[in-house]
Amino acid sequence: VKNMHRTGPLLEGFVLVALGLSMIALIISGNYWLYLNPKFEWVTAGAACMLILIGFLAALWSENRVNRSGAAILIAFLCYTIWGNTQVLQPSPLKPKPLPVEMPEEEARTVLNGSEYIRINTVELFGICEEEPHKTGERYTVRGIVLRTPQLDSAGQFVVARLAVFCCLADAVVVGFRVRDDGAAQEFQNGQWVQVYGKLEEAPSPTPLPELPYVSDAGEWHDQHAQTPESPPSELPFKGAVAAAIHPRYIIAPDKVSITEEPELPFMFEFRGAEPYAF
């Protein structure tokens, strides 16, 4: 009977330890960046250690009284964590891969046809448009995936965008710019990675912003805007985005748009306010 009375605290302790271990496993697996900004790894590791410690203490020392509803919610949360991990990874076009140990520091600027371009990501460029408009006259180069819709095609534009993960995937936002299409976009498919070199200019007004996919309908949107059947499109790595912010006032006038490889980390995790930008 005494052993039976210990079942509750042991179960509670086990669940806390399992939660802590699942968090450690997430960090070690290399899939962490699919859920959270890697800058929070140490926070997760600290919380996991605390959970494991508390779990052991709860199992060994806690009284027989068990908070049943609390334990039930923790068990449900643990199951959901394990199930969610498999669900997020299965349909995702993203291939889980470990974070690079050290990202090489790249040059702040690059030269194309004798002109210097500032390497920058779309969030940082958004910040310049909003907070430092005196810098909008510079030449910039951004990377992102192509988004095309019939509406954009008819306006002679396409969108270059990337997913920004500020804290976690639950608040990830697609951030992008419209690019003036001088016929180049016809070569590109939705979801294709490109690097755009150009200058910002005031968007022609009134030009409606495109409707872009939200979290629940990204797949459907993609199906609707897929390219010709003989050229199967790559998938949009935007599943999970809460919103899509396309700058309403500025558009990129491109000097060149070239196809590029998907970056090692396709999401944007780092945002700087000055050169060298995170790109």
């Binding site: 919610i73 923790l74 500020f166 804290c167 639950a170 979290v215 809460v242 919103a243 899509a244």
Partner: protein
């Protein structure tokens, strides 16, 4: 408190996944209604305050006072915080922490909307 936080996060996730956000655009033309709708969205979405300016920017067709209300209320009142307030404080204090910011932010945003037009 963890169960309230988990329940709040779960409710926010359900809203985000299953409620089509494009229905919000039906309210964009009315400046006063749009403020309330954007505040409600901020509370339900429970978006991190680092990201909410970009989420607000995605609702580009809403008025600026409505976007301002969105980014103002989010860090103070959302589903997770409501759960945490309820678990931490007495009922009256928790209600005050929820209702006062909502009233103040709505009122100020409505005043700005009526001035700006």
């Amino acid at each position: 408190m963890s169960k309230y936080l988990i329940a709040g996060a779960f409710a926010a996730a359900l809203f985000k996944v299953f409620v089509p956000q494009d229905i919000l655009f039906h309210f964009e033309s009315n400046p006063f209604l749009s403020i309330g709708v954007m505040m409600l969205l901020a509370i339900l979405l429970s978006v991190c305050s680092e990201a909410d300016s970009f989420v607000a920017a995605s609702f580009w067709s809403f008025s600026q006072p409505a976007q301002l209300a969105f980014v103002s209320i989010g860090p103070m009142v959302d589903l997770k915080l409501i759960g945490a307030y309820g678990a931490t404080f007495r009922k009256r204090a928790a209600l005050t922490l929820i209702v006062v910011p909502i009233v103040i932010i709505y009122t100020l945003s409505a005043v700005i909307a009526s001035i700006v037009g």
